[in-house]
Every structure is written in structure tokens, then in C-alpha cells.
Symmetry: C2
DNA sequence: CAAATATTCAGCCGCGCGGCTGAATATCAC
DNA sequence: GTGATATTCAGCCGCGCGGCTGAATATTTG
């Protein structure tokens, strides 16, 4: 089983790229799910590039996908974002 | 003046490296300030490498330093971590 | 001032990230 | 089944990140 440290590593790495952060926000504002195509349409670069970003996000556990017709629908995994929130919370505890 | 986006970029990038996350935690658990040497001592790699990590953190606004004798004391900028907290909070709002 | 200490500056280098293109795969419409 | 649509897979490539070493820069101590 993967260690907690690896989880942090994957998640923080995933969040390090602006395109990936935008995707997460886009999924959220689209109501929690978004097709790969709609995600790719947000960017100037080739859609294959977005595909890879989506995979990074998914491997980090921040997204999950589901096939729906010929689209792939990506959904947020808020639980995974809690990992970051928890990491941060350390710094905001009363001393 | 720097844009908000650039701030996110710098901060998330800074947090992407495990050594830098460890440094931030170390500073916190050391009571809010830590010398560059003590930071470097935590790692197996050359201290010059830590120097650079500290600079990345400082340029991201997550640390500030102050000379004290021949040491450089690094202090946390919690304010900057709030940026990340705010970014995250979007996802945890009631729908 | 000279020597020791603490830390940074400058610059080299390998490797992975994140662009790209071209081909493959899955599903729907006819 | 054929073609169109949506998306991924495979692989190329440049550039920057993050290691390293060696030299330089404060600051304190004797």
C-alpha cells in the first residue's frame, strides 16, 4: 500500500501546475463533473497535453473518471483535497 | 506589482518539493524560526542545495530571513500559506 | 589582522516535465 | 460495417529543476 508521504508527493506535485489547478476549479464550477474534451477546450495547447494533465490529477487521486458514451467524465475527489487542507492546518493551530 | 496568479504559481511550486515542505514544518515546530544551518542539517544532500530551497521558499513569500550574528534565521510567513488555504476553501463551500 | 564559522554565489550536469505530432482505440450514427 | 467523434497512447525533444563542487562573502573570535 502507498505511504502517506507518497500521497502528499503526488497531490502537491499535481497542484504545482497552473493548468491542473485550473482544471480542478473548472470541474468544481461545472458542478462537479466535466468531460475531458471540455477540459481540453479551456487551453491553447494540444488536447493530448490536457490528457496527460488529467492523468496526473487522477493518479494523484484528485480526480476520478467514468465513461459516459464516448466521453470521459471526470469528477472531483474532494477527500483528496482534504489531505492538503490537513497539511496546512498544522500551521494554523493555536500554539 | 505581481499578479495574484503569479503568487499562486510561486507558492504551489514551492510546496511541490518534499524538502521544502519539510523545511516549512521544521520552522514551525522549531517555534517559528530556524537557522539556515539547522535547516540544512536535516537533509542528506549538500547544504548548498538547501540554500536554494530556502531561496525558493523565500521568493514564494513563505519565508523571510533576518541576519543574526553569522547565522541567517528564517521565519514563517503564515499569511502566505493562507493563500493556499483560500484557494482550497473554494472546493469546500456548500454547493 | 588572521583564522574559523556560517552561509551563499556561480556554474556544471543528468533527468524528468510538459509541450508537440502521429497513430490507435472506443463509441455512436447511418 | 463505415465513418465520424472523443479521447488516449506512444514517442520525440527542449528546457528547467535540483542534485553536485568549488569559490566567495559576511561575521565572530583570538
Amino acid at each position: 500500500m502507498p505511504k502517506r508521504e507518497d500521497a502528499y508527493e503526488a497531490v502537491f506535485n499535481a497542484l504545482a501546475h497552473p493548468a491542473r489547478r485550473r482544471v480542478l476549479l473548472a470541474v468544481y464550477f461545472a458542478g462537479g463533473e466535466l468531460s475531458a474534451g471540455d477540459a481540453a477546450a479551456m487551453f491553447a495547447h494540444a488536447w493530448q497535453t490536457t490528457t496527460r494533465h488529467l492523468q496526473v490529477l487522477e493518479k494523484a487521486g484528485l480526480l476520478r473518471h467514468e465513461r459516459r458514451g464516448r466521453n470521459r467524465i471526470y469528477r472531483l475527489e474532494r477527500k483528496r483535497l482534504e489531505l492538503v487542507r490537513d497539511w496546512l492546518s498544522t500551521f494554523f493551530r493555536k500554539p
